[in-house]
């Protein structure tokens, strides 16, 4: 990789945008640099399930349009990776499952269409836990993604592919989807930024559904501003998604830019959620969190403790609502119209073919959740399980309401620990589920949550993440605050923490990464 490529892949999307607009660099060069990077490091990282063969062509077209003086979106020509849960007409869309191996949808997800309309360059599809069920990508049918910080550790999940791709400088931007933390937890353990927008803020049309009432598509990036810029492209009302909010959203890019300029947080009340910390949290994570609180207080913010007693039941409720909806959403994978078909020996009835296909096509975690969900919805159990879970959901929403009565924003660690090792929690589903303890409440309440790096844990040198939550529709506040905090953290702890990553392209230590990539 030459030095120009090396320089290009380190740039943020915002910086790339500037250079592209000024024609200091072409979309083709930017795309080529990232494709080269993917070729170089992805065999070790395995962030991508599919790399686009069209990317260079698309980039060339953007350059052509720019030469002709077309008015383009600021991000036109910037490469973007797409989580494999999103439908793309020109690339297979498998959701990390064997049952959809090779399936190319006849339509683009609305968010993908918006990327194309804004002329970003889709560069490939990223790995994920099968149907977004997991916190480690270990449940991908195509093998796990490695954490660029340590190849023996998980990159988080389900969107580990998007987070790792961004963290390993394979792409500056990616799309993720967050049902219970699938954008924010991977961001935390890879030292990147990820945003789960307000439910309804971004279209779900073409996002292969896990749990319809919880799923939300969002941006993954290395900076708050980059995430905001991508959010501006993909967000907004979509008539094809009935749950999409008919709102006029203010510019998130502007919010992030304003936030970066702020030198004081005076007058801002920041709530620390008592239930989202303490016992069960890794010391390094708690320490970093405490340091952030001090930093915020030193900058004029008022830190208040808030309590959300019903959060104790959030995980239990989540693991009833999610499997219930998933059991129904995944019923369509029956071999009749698309995807895998497995014929039992000697043929069989349609029911036997459906059964054999689902037996062969779904992984163990998917089966576990389908069984759980089917049970939870069964006559006679509905009230006790699904019904009660919905009540808890209402209580969680009330807790947030009362918390936002006392604070403008709420903060907590994004995940209780740094990246754990492969296999560590694979045999213990409950331990895996508990990894989402901090992120799940925001999904249950439909409020936005931003995850951003808050430094490295002292004991293992791995990234930790901060989660910031705002009331529904106040996504802009998160970008503004996130950008401010980003500046504060840079000032207090040096540059972007990804520079400490063994895979940082500017570093000479790439070959000495744990596990090595060369």
């Amino acid at each position: 990789m030459n030095s120009m490529s090396n320089e290009l892949i380190q740039l943020s999307a915002a910086k790339l945008s500037e250079k592209l607009v000024k024609k200091e660099v072409s979309a083709l060069e930017v795309t080529k640099a990232h494709l080269d990077r993917i070729e170089e490091v992805d065999p070790a990282i395995h962030a991508f399930l599919h790399v686009s063969t069209e990317a260079l062509k698309v980039a060339g077209e953007v350059d052509g349009a720019r030469r002709l003086g077309a008015k383009l979106n600021p991000l036109a020509g910037v490469p973007v990776a797409i989580k494999d849960v999103l439908c793309t007409m020109d690339m297979p869309s498998t959701a990390g499952s064997k049952i959809l191996e090779g399936w190319v949808p006849p339509y683009d997800a609305t968010v993908v269409k918006r990327l194309r309309d804004a002329r970003l360059v889709p560069i490939g599809k990223t790995n994920m836990d099968e149907f977004a069920m997991g916190s480690s990508t270990e449940h991908s049918a195509y093998g796990p993604t490695k954490n660029p910080w340590d190849l023996e550790r998980i990159p988080g999940g389900s969107g580990g592919g998007s987070a790792a791709a961004v963290a390993a400088f394979e792409v500056p931007l990616a799309l993720g989807s967050d049902t219970g933390g699938s954008i924010r937890q991977p961001a935390a353990v890879t030292g990147t930024v990820g945003m789960k927008p307000t439910y309804g803020g971004v279209s779900r049309y073409g996002a292969i559904a896990l749990a319809s009432s919880l799923d939300q598509v969002g941006p993954v990036a290395r900076s708050v501003l980059d995430a905001a810029m991508l959010h501006d492209v993909i967000g907004g009302h979509d008539p094809k998604d009935s749950t999409s909010l008919n709102e006029s959203w203010s510019s998130f890019t502007e919010a992030a830019k304003e936030g970066a300029k702020a030198d004081s947080l005076k007058g801002l009340k920041i709530g620390v959620v008592k239930e989202l910390g303490g016992e069960g949290f890794q010391k390094g994570v708690s320490d970093r969190f405490a340091a952030v609180c001090e930093l915020l207080a030193a900058t004029g913010a008022e830190i208040v403790e808030v309590s959300a007693p019903s959060f104790a039941y959030a995980i239990a409720a989540y693991y009833l609502i999610l499997p219930a909806e998933a059991s129904s959403n995944l019923a369509k994978f029956d071999s009749v119209r698309f995807g895998l078909r497995v014929n039992p020996p000697g043929g069989g009835t349609v029911e036997q073919v459906m059964s054999a296909t689902r037996e062969a096509g779904f992984g163990p975690e998917v089966k576990r959740r389908i069984i759980l969900g089917t049970y939870a919805l069964s006559a006679g159990y509905y009230d006790a399980y699904y019904g009660s879970a919905q009540k808890v959901r209402t209580l969680v929403q009330r807790d947030f309401q009362s918390a936002f009565g006392k604070a403008d924003l709420l903060i907590s660690p994004s995940a209780p620990t740094t990246a754990f090792k492969f296999g560590e929690k694979l045999e213990d589903p409950l331990a895996m589920y508990l990894n989402d303890v901090t992120t799940i409440p925001a999904n249950l309440a439909g409020i936005p949550g931003l995850g951003l790096p808050m430094g490295l844990a002292e004991e293992d040198g791995l990234p930790t993440g901060l989660q910031v939550m705002a009331p529904a529709k106040a996504d802009a506040k998160l970008y503004s605050f996130g950008a401010t905090l980003e500046v504060l953290l840079k000032e207090s702890s040096g540059e972007l923490i990804l520079q400490d990553s063994p895979l940082y392209p500017g570093a000479n230590n790439a070959s000495s990464a744990n596990g090595g990539v060369k």
Partner: protein, 507 residues
Amino acid sequence: MSTNAELMDFEKAIELFEPVLGFEVHVELNTNTKMFSDAPNPASSQAESATQEPNTMITPVCLGLPGSLPVVNEQAVKFSISLGLALGCEIASSSRFARKNYFYPDLAKNYQISQYDEPIAHDGEIEVEIAGGKTFKIEIERAHMEEDAGKLTHVGGSTGRIQGADYSLVDYNRAGVPLVEIVTKIIQGTNENAPEVGKAYVATIREIVLALGISEARMERGNLRCDANVSLSPRGSGKLGTRTETKNVNSLRSVDRAVRYEIQRQAAIIAAGGTIVQETRHWHEDTGTTSPGRPKSDADDYRYFPEPDLLPVEPSASLIQELKNALPEAPAKRRSRLKADWGFSELEFQDVVNAGLLNEIEQTVQAGASPAQSRKWWMGEVSRIANAKSVDPSTLVSPKSVAEIVKLTESGELTDRLARQALEGVIAGEGTPTEVVAKRGLKVVSDDGALIAAIDEALKSQPDVLEKIKSGKIQAAGAIIGDVMKAMQGKADAARVRELILERATG
């Protein structure tokens, strides 16, 4: 097999048991697009079902492709509200869609989006009238919105059913067609009128949806489908019996027959000490019998839960009021108006109502035919052919065509006999009446020259008749008319022939 089932004499069955009925009627709405997608609706008034290639009227939503999402068709909601109002129902200010989960290859998502505990309309009542003017109140439990499934064609095997088939073909054109399912409360006290009440109920629903213009309501096309629940309660027992649900009874005539058959079949079983199995049953139009389908328990577990992809349906009070104001006349009121307008006798009118031909006659009159002639054709020749073919008269010919035939006879261009041939041609698909007349050469011979030649010939060959006519016995002309009509192969106006005979004989 079912065809060999023992049947009890109907009167005897009614003497021993009280029939208890319940109906589920599915109405396909004729909106331009489907319930949850912008795919064209094959049940719309524009769509011509005969030309629909399988799997051409579909979108990713109809196929339940991964990532696709439903969006509610507002027109379908309005139609459903109108129907609910016409059924005297209360309209819910907030109703919800729910998923009904079950695996079946005609159901693309393996769940049907329906309504469960919160239907859009509930608690209504309509009055239906049977022969002799006797009326019955039918209580409506609910009317809810849902989507239709695709269509399966089972290939191979002898029954055309999924069991024993070599393979099956799926057509998803119908998947997602908007449906309203109307569910009655249990209907008691119909006794020997049970079959007729069933038929009159479905006929009334058909009348209502046609008046509202919300469905094409062609039963032979499945626009209106009836499932008939029948159980028998031993007289004096005060206990309800076990019910069967005969599915897809898709003509008015069949509703009557299916209810009657189930009453007779169940009565025979119970009287012989047997028990009725709670099950769905298939209706066989050809043999007029039912056969067992699948066992059905009240506890079929569809794992209903609120559809998370859709928001609750919350029509404003002003919209409901607006739709209420726009409701067409209620069927009972309409019937008394039509009866007065048309000047039919009580008996004539009742026959029309019982035959379910009110709409057809009204439309025929609207198309320019006289009420008396419209009635004559629909109740006469059209019904006769329909009976012979065991189909509903409305499926044979359009009111427009009947009106055209009436007008052709009224203008003297067709004789009754020629008009019957024209009707036959229209039913055979040879075109409009005018086209059939042209193709078959059915025009009345009005060229007096040809007639006069034939008359003179006939008079010459029967001088005795000529003498009789000359001597004033005008009725003797009948014999000559017969000869002339024969010579003209029926293509002459008998009245004109008679006139000319008298002219020639006495002139």
